[in-house]
């Protein structure tokens, strides 16, 4: 009994922040009286729009640089590219890819500079990043208000303020890159993935021939085979029809997810029991997961849930980008550079004495984060559809960091899971807050205040709760003299 009690207590105290915000969300939804279908569809739109940006924060945390307020710089890189691409008149996915192509080098350069700066002020990266955000905004304003039109001649009535100097307040992205990524059909993605597999296999084989690395590419051939089969399947008319859309009904997404989960568990069982013949392998976990999947599938038949599942449509490509970024984050940890980042993050002294180039590692972490933030801002802009020239980047870091913190992350530790949970909780609050404020205080204005209050309040509350959590950690008894042991802990 005590054991279970302890475990519950530990779980609760470790996830204090998350639990608090879950309760707030439930309370908010209840108070606002908004229909669940509305909340859910808004929420999924916002996950697609903001998830990428939040995930861009993880790597600097890993490298011990805290929450990267400097992602504003990445957002600025994206916006510069968006302006030019719109000016040149490119449209659709071409325009989007061009933005990507143009913004990435700028972001790499910016990230390098930010990394250099942060190396000069180790330990104060967060405040430095915040101030840097304001500073770079100054330069950005100079560029957009004066240099464009003033120094670089740009003639475009739609983009430039009458008089020829400075960019207009708002740029409408409809008709050029709005929804350009969201509307890429699944079929295209499968095609692209297939070609990536083919090309990478070829490169690998060529490398093997040239360098004689002796790598086995049996695995690659299997992947290639699976890829080919999937690609071939997509030519079947009924599947092709299903795949040629760009949105996926949430119900279908859930079913696909559950089926994938079950198949994966079955594969684990087969692999461990029958291929590796590992008799110690415990089947409890996979079986539990399969049962769980079945229960979840059963839940989809409940009226209220089914309603939501049938109401929400997911932009598949955007979501796939988020999944890919999650995979990237967890993959980089398992590489040499990732391990170096972790070491640097935990102790620069140890890293240095182990021969790791601390400064270089930190710069790389910053570059990756800035580039990802830049892509995140591109995804955000193409989804939202209007580019507010002087406002789009201002609260990027604030909202992303608030989301991450709500998910239970801290300055020292942040995971994919926390990022995703954080996005969900933070944006749920964001959606229901104005309405809830209006319902409770009977004043729409107050509801608006509520929203702003939440973003800042969230950061303050979760940082304070983390500080509290760190403080109440029992004092290390082992180092005390015998008499003092355990007396004041």
């Amino acid at each position: 009994m005590d054991n279970i009690k302890n475990r519950i207590y530990n779980f609760a105290s470790e996830n204090k922040v998350v639990i608090l915000f879950v309760l707030l969300c439930i309370g908010g939804i209840y108070a606002s009286g908004s229909p669940l279908t509305f909340v859910a569809s808004e929420l999924f739109t916002r996950i697609g729009r903001n998830g990428f940006m939040v995930l861009a924060l993880l790597i600097p945390v890993l490298a011990g640089m805290g929450l990267n307020f400097g992602i504003t710089v990445g957002a600025i890189a994206a916006q510069i590219a968006v302006f030019w691409v719109v000016y040149w008149g490119f449209e659709g996915i071409t325009g989007f890819l061009l933005c990507l192509l143009m913004a990435t080098p700028i972001a790499i350069f910016f990230g390098f500079l930010v990394g250099k700066l942060f190396n000069k002020m180790k330990g104060a990266e967060m405040i430095a990043g915040m101030v840097l955000g304001y500073f770079s905004e100054g330069l950005y304003l100079l560029f957009f208000l004066f240099i464009i039109g003033g120094v670089i001649p740009v003639y475009n009535d739609r983009l430039i303020i009458t008089g020829g100097v400075g960019v207009k307040n708002t740029i409408d992205l409809a008709g050029n890159i709005k929804y350009s990524l969201d509307t890429v059909p699944m079929l295209t993605i499968i095609e692209i993935l297939f070609f990536i597999i083919v090309i990478s296999t070829i490169i690998k084989i060529v490398f093997n021939k040239v360098k004689e690395t002796g790598l086995s590419f049996k695995k690659d051939l299997i992947i290639l085979g699976v890829g080919a089969i999937v690609y071939a399947l997509s030519f079947i008319p009924s599947i092709e029809a299903f795949l040629s859309t760009d949105r996926l009904l949430l119900l279908h997404a859930v079913i696909i997810g559950l089926v994938a989960l079950v198949l994966m568990q079955i594969w684990y069982i087969i692999k461990n029991r029958f291929i590796l013949k590992d008799m110690d392998y415990s089947m409890k976990k996979p079986i539990a997961l399969i049962v769980l999947a079945a229960i979840l599938y059963g839940l989809t038949y409940i009226k209220a849930i089914e309603e939501i599942l049938l109401y929400v449509n997911l932009p598949v490509t955007t979501y796939l980008c988020i999944v890919a970024l999650c995979m990237f984050n967890s993959m980089i940890i398992r590489t040499r550079i990732g391990q170096n980042m972790r070491t640097v993050g935990q102790s620069r002294v140890v890293a240095n004495s182990a021969g790791i180039d601390v400064d270089k590692t930190r710069i790389i972490a910053m570059i990756i984060s800035t580039v990802l933030a830049c892509w995140g801002q591109l995804i955000y802009l193409q989804n939202i559809g209007t580019f507010s020239t002087y406002g789009a980047h201002t609260q990027v870091s604030l909202f992303a960091i608030a989301s991450l913190l709500v998910g239970g992350a801290s300055v020292q530790k942040a995971t994919n899971k926390q990022a995703i949970i954080g996005v969900i909780l933070f944006h749920t609050l964001f959606i229901v807050a104005p309405q809830a404020g209006k319902e409770i205080f009977n004043n729409a204005q107050l509801g608006e205040y509520f929203r702003v209050f939440i973003a800042y309040g969230v950061i303050a509350v979760s940082l304070a709760m983390h500080a509290w959590k760190t403080n109440i950690r029992p004092i290390d008894d082992t180092k005390k003299p015998a008499r003092l042991k355990g007396q004041k802990a």
Partner: protein
């Protein structure tokens, strides 16, 4: 035939800013032997090791004189990585481990085993994938090599201190081509059984042909584990001996052995004191202090009114913890009683209220406000603790500039603080004058007991004499009870009436200043010779 030495450090000398810290020191280590390196604090052990490792601190201050040879070949090590390449490893005293990493990750830190991937072919080896299986196998092997039965996937954070030390050792062993391992006071943080275990492990390592330099203060450990020993004193080479040809008494004598030069001629001063065993200024009963690195583990002391009482011992043994505990700066247990009144040790400032003033050993960190003026520094404590140097002005307490200035000028004259005036900043003074400012501040409190921790640390010999002389003068003329805590035995022996030696947080013994060198040596090295235990 000449003996084949793995490491030869011949006639090494080193100067820091004109201060010679090593004078013609030699060190020879044979392959596969455990060689102990002993000496008091400041004898030059760490400087010698810094030279061996090519630490930047050596080469940024003008390098060293003398020759370092490895396997008979002359080498120049000017970079820690070069030392690693020559197969020299170090087990640090403060652990270079990452608590959040597993044992495997810690052992392999910076030397991860990786598998190439497609991306690493294109973008370089940074993107190689970690080969966790192989790393685990290596870690397991290193751990079993030192006879440690522990799971390699456990996180370091929860391990007992002793195991952390063993993980450090395993990491060094895992490095390929390791020939020489330096253990810097490895047993300082270990419990007795862990220390025994460590000595065993050292023997196992040396039996595999790896030489060990064992820096320690504990004589009995040297006698138990080492094959040979080099003793340094005041930066000079004293002796190199085989352990089988020597004894603990010999070594203790060699370590301390010097004639007590009277730094202060206190005979001349008029002695009006009347020291009585029943007239006590400060008593400690069963006193524990939880000061990291300077643990005090149950001390009983009676300090008589009007005496100069010395507390000595090696660094990290707890002597510094005593004054810090009395002042309430760290968590304590037990009682401290000043002039018949128990101190409320958990209340910061209570000791001050009871007439105890403290000059901290950490002059620049805790002792002084470096950016403030001398005047401010002198009156600061009295202002805060006793509301002195303040004028009441309509309910506001304002700084009484005039009186503070007067007092500061008086103190500057009294203590002969060399400065441009009371408004010079404390940070710009020399070490000796800074120490005088600290003293002036403590005296401004009009204490009945003055505790001075490391009074002469970092100040030159002339200033040293002045400070010590002044302490004696205060004691003789004002009847002030003074407690001096110092690592320098010479200075304790020249001014104190009695000297307590603290070893491993406990009182080893109380000695007269003219007791034999051997007694001091043995007490400091923690060998229990006579039954002078306090419990």
């Amino acid at each position: 035939m000449e003996i084949e030495y793995l490491l030869n450090m011949d006639n090494i000398s080193k100067e820091y800013y004109g201060n010679r810290v090593l004078k013609n020191v030699s060190l020879q280590v044979k392959p596969g032997e455990i060689h102990a390196l002993m000496g008091e604090n400041g004898a030059g052990k760490s400087t010698l090791m810094n030279i061996l490792f090519g630490m930047p601190v050596i080469h940024s201050t003008g390098g060293y004189e003398g020759v370092v040879k490895i396997n008979g070949e002359k080498v120049l090590i000017d970079d820690p990585h070069k030392a690693m390449d020559y197969g020299i490893g170090m087990v640090h005293q403060e652990f270079m481990l990452i608590p959040g990493f597993t044992i495997t990750e810690n052992i392999k830190v910076g030397r991860e085993i990786c598998k190439p991937t497609l991306l690493s072919h294109i973008f370089g080896r940074d993107l190689e994938k970690l080969d966790i299986e192989q790393m685990r196998k290596d870690a397991k092997k290193a751990l079993s090599n030192i006879g440690l039965d522990i799971n390699e996937y456990v996180k370091v954070a929860g391990l007992p201190i002793g195991y952390m030390q063993f993980v450090e050792i395993a990491r060094e062993i895992d490095k390929t081509g390791i020939k020489l391992l330096v253990f810097d006071e490895p047993t300082a943080v270990l419990t007795e059984s862990e220390a025994d275990r460590l000595l065993e492990i050292m023997k196992i390592i040396s039996s595999k042909g790896i030489a060990i330099i064992f820096i320690t203060h504990r004589l009995d450990e040297v006698m138990a584990a080492a094959d040979s020993i080099t003793i340094l004193r005041d930066g000079e080479f004293v002796a190199r001996k085989e352990i089988k040809d020597t004894s603990a008494m010999d070594i203790a004598q060699l370590m301390v052995g010097r004639k007590v030069e009277k730094l202060v001629d206190n005979e001349k001063m008029e002695n009006i004191r009347n020291l009585r065993d029943d007239d006590l200024a400060l008593t400690l009963r069963d006193f524990y202090v939880n000061m990291p690195g300077e643990m005090v583990k149950g001390i009983n002391l009676d300090i008589r009114k009007g005496e100069i009482f010395g507390i000595g011992g090696l660094a990290g043994q707890g002597k510094i913890g005593i004054p810090n505990g009395i002042m309430g700066l760290y968590e304590t247990e037990g009682t401290a009683n000043a002039f018949g009144k128990d101190l409320e040790l958990d209340k910061l400032g209570n000791a001050l209220d009871n007439g105890i003033a403290f000059v901290s050993e950490d002059r620049r960190g805790v002792g002084l406000l470096l950016d403030e003026t001398i005047e401010q520094n002198i009156v600061f404590s009295a202002m805060q603790a006793k509301d002195e140097f303040l004028i009441n002005f309509a309910g506001l307490k304002l700084y009484d500039k005039k009186r503070a200035r007067e007092h500061a000028l008086k103190m500057i004259e009294l203590l002969d603080i060399r400065c441009t005036g009371p408004s010079q900043t404390a940070g710009s003074l020399s070490g000796g004058n800074q120490q005088k400012v600290c003293l002036a501040r403590a005296l401004t409190l009009n204490p009945k007991i003055l505790i001075v921790s490391e009074p002469t640390r970092g100040i030159d010999i002339g200033a040293k004499k002045l400070v010590l002389e002044y302490l004696v003068q205060l004691n003789r003329q004002e009847g002030l009870t003074i407690i001096v805590v110092s690592s320098e035995l010479v200075e304790l022996r020249s001014i104190c009436d009695r000297i307590a030696i603290v070893s491993d947080g406990k009182l080893a013994t109380i000695l007269e200043p003219d007791a034999a060198d051997v007694e001091f040596g043995l007490a400091m090295a923690g060998s229990k010779k006579d039954g002078d235990k306090n419990d």
